[in-house]
């Protein structure tokens, strides 16, 4: 198909994948220009250079900061072909009707607005969606089973003196603070009223705890990007750290034992989606909708699932995955044959079972989301203190 329209999309390398642009060109004829950047740059790009992109591929917690600045226009759910297929987690915060809503900046809390030009979020479903969710996952501790030498069951285990100088957490404040919160609670140090929206005192307690741990030499490093976490683990610098599922896979693909360790307190989750730049209108806007509808129609979903992330429209993605793949990645079943990466390399041998089990087991045990708190300014200041300490 020939389509004169070009859409410019930016985001982190997690989802700004060239293969998507290629496939989009094939299927729609739309030229997709993708710029990959680190998460810091992405946040700034979204707010400070709103004319430099058409599609923003960002996370929900940063959307909480970005949306009020008016650079993203809400999308009409009526124009979203697969809106109905979106996993309920993004609409209500519940995976299953009886799930407990996890703490923090859950996607549905920043998912809807009242009107086209509202600057504040609503709590319930409306016809205006701030972003179309695309990708999400549940993070936990990754471990080197060959080097930890014992059973890991809790976030608290990362503080085990045995791992002194061999542990790591994330150094993105909105994410790292939630890691810390999980650890604090697991240790029984504190019980947050809402760890996704801490009070100043809770922030102080948490940061003070982190500072002490840091000064005691518990941490080897703090990582900020995907590759750092992979390298830390693969090189043996760190044996236990907060980690992403695909990062675990990346370590394993090098023949190094690495486990995505489910923990009894549950997961820290995150989600991302596609937002429309405010300046879009007319044919461009139509093309953007067309693109988003294509994005959620399954091919990309399959691709993301195969990387170890989850697609927001599971039903459509399923159509683009083999039964074995679906079984391995989503249902938690042992692989029948070799499991291949999207690039065609063997990721797991036949018989392997995915750590953490099925989609529902994982996403059903989300304890909190990456968060922007009311006391964000204070928290960031204190986080800087932690890093400087």
């Amino acid at each position: 198909a020939q389509n004169p329209i070009t859409l410019r999309q930016f985001g982190t390398g997690v989802s700004n994948i060239n293969a998507v642009a290629q496939k989009c060109k094939e299927d729609l004829g739309i030229t997709l220009e993708m710029t990959a950047m680190d998460s810091d740059a992405a946040a700034q790009r979204a707010v400070t250079q709103p004319n430099s992109y058409d599609i923003a591929d960002i996370e929900y917690w940063i959307l909480k900061k970005v949306y009020p600045s008016g650079v993203i226009q809400p999308m009409e759910t009526s124009k979203l072909k697969f809106y109905d297929k979106v996993v309920p987690l993004f609409k209500t915060g519940k995976l299953l009707p009886d799930s407990v809503i996890a703490q923090g900046t859950a996607p549905h809390t920043v998912g809807y607005v009242e009107s086209k030009d509202a600057k504040t979020f609503t709590t319930s479903e409306t016809e205006f969606f701030t972003m179309m969710p695309t990708i999400y996952n549940a993070d936990t501790l990754g471990i080197r089973p060959d080097l930890v030498g014992r059973e890991i069951t809790s976030w608290a285990d990362i503080m085990d003196p045995a791992f002194k100088g061999k542990a790591s957490i994330l150094n993105i404040p909105s994410i790292g603070i939630m890691d810390a919160a999980m650890i604090m609670e697991a240790l029984g140090n504190i019980k947050y009223a809402d760890k996704g929206n801490m009070t100043k005192e809770e922030i102080d307690a948490t940061i003070d705890f982190l500072i002490k741990a840091k000064q005691d030499g518990q941490f080897r490093a703090f990582w900020k990007s995907f590759d750092e976490s992979v390298n830390l683990m693969a090189s043996g610098e760190v044996v236990i750290q907060s980690m992403w599922s695909p990062a675990v896979a990346a370590v394993r693909s090098r023949g190094i034992a690495c486990k995505y360790q489910p923990l009894k307190e549950g997961y820290r989750s995150w989600g991302g989606g596609l937002g429309l730049a405010s300046h879009l209108s007319g044919a461009q806007l139509d093309a953007a909708y067309e693109y988003i509808n294509w994005y959620t129609s399954g091919w990309v979903g399959g691709y993301l699932n195969r990387q170890g992330y989850y697609s927001a429209c599971m039903d459509t993605a399923k159509e683009f995955m083999s039964a074995d793949e679906w079984g391995y990645w989503i249902e938690g079943k042992p692989a029948q044959g070799d499991i291949m990466s999207p690039e065609g390399q063997v990721m797991e041998k036949a018989g392997a079972v995915r750590d953490g089990g099925s989609f529902e087991e994982r996403m059903g045990k989300v304890a909190c989301w990456n968060s922007v708190m009311d006391e964000d300014r204070y928290m960031v200041r204190r986080w800087n203190e932690f890093i400087a300490a």
Partner: protein, 272 residues
């Protein structure tokens, strides 16, 4: 052939210098070695097989990012910066040969441009464009940001050049009937040409590798350093090292060619 004996100081310093070179090249050689990792090799030692896989991979489209596009942008930007740096520095150098109102403040503004932390310049230009509602782009805002970094170098070099440039040559030319333009074109320009080439290469290489000042000013598309940085956050394969190896090799070749040219020219000059 009669050779002067060397002092002990020479040998001590020669060893020091050699160690410095090892220090400079050590890590680079580590990535050179690692770029020959086997297909399942990672970013750290130990080596996991030996192959040219990652060099071949460098030529293919990566999972994310666009080396080719960002390389072309950085090349174009570097060339633009080079040309403008040469022109503006040259003009400023000419201006500073004379007294004019504001010469000293302007000079210190140039020095300030050199010492203001890059990230502040980046932030400032980013905010400026945002407030003015302008579209930042590698060829506008990033271009300006790079100039604030390359121009002070250019101006300082031109300053040094004209400090040592005898006005007698220009007077001789004027005396021989050259107009001001002819004097400039036929005398001043050829005489300072090597320095201008120096300013140009300096401008290019400073721009080509500038990271902090591009961070908030590049607009829609990444420059090569931004792209490499973004890649480091996602790419976990030695293809990065292959890129490092290739770029190092490239600059090495440029330098070898330059040295070769200098030797060649010197030889020809002395033979003539």
């Amino acid at each position: 052939m009669h050779r002067e004996p060397r002092s002990r100081e020479f040998y001590v310093l020669a060893i020091f210098f050699a160690l410095f070179v090892v220090f400079l090249y050590g890590p680079l050689s580590a990535i050179v070695v690692l770029s020959f990792q086997g297909p399942s090799g990672g970013l750290t030692f130990p080596l996991n097989g030996v192959s040219l896989h990652w060099f071949a991979n460098l030529l293919e489209t990566q999972a994310v990012g666009d080396f080719g596009g960002s390389f072309r942008r950085s090349l174009a930007l570097g060339l633009m910066v080079m040309v403008v740096t040469v022109l503006v520095s040259l003009l400023a150098g000419l201006a500073f040969r004379r007294k004019f109102l504001g010469a000293t403040p302007l000079f210190y503004l140039a020095v300030a441009s050199l010492v203001v932390p890059s990230i502040i310049v980046s932030l400032g230009i980013g905010v400026l464009f945002q407030q003015l509602g302008l579209q930042p782009a590698w060829y506008s805002s990033a271009f300006g940001a790079h100039l604030t970094w390359t121009l002070p170098f250019g101006v300082l070099i031109m300053f040094a050049v004209f400090n040592r440039f005898s006005p007698a040559y220009e007077e001789a030319a004027r005396d021989l009937g050259a107009s001001s333009w002819q004097t400039f074109r036929h005398v001043v320009l050829p005489m300072i040409a090597p320095s201008l080439i120096g300013v140009g290469l300096f401008g290019f290489s400073l721009s080509y590798d500038e990271f902090a000042r591009t961070l908030m000013t590049s607009g829609t598309y990444n420059s090569l350093p931004l792209e490499i940085y973004a890649m480091t956050t996602n790419v976990t394969t030695p293809v990065l090292y292959a890129l490092g190896t290739v770029t190092t090799l490239f600059s090495f070749l440029v330098i070898v060619a330059t040295v070769g040219a200098i030797f060649f020219l010197n030889r020809r000059r002395t033979r003539a």
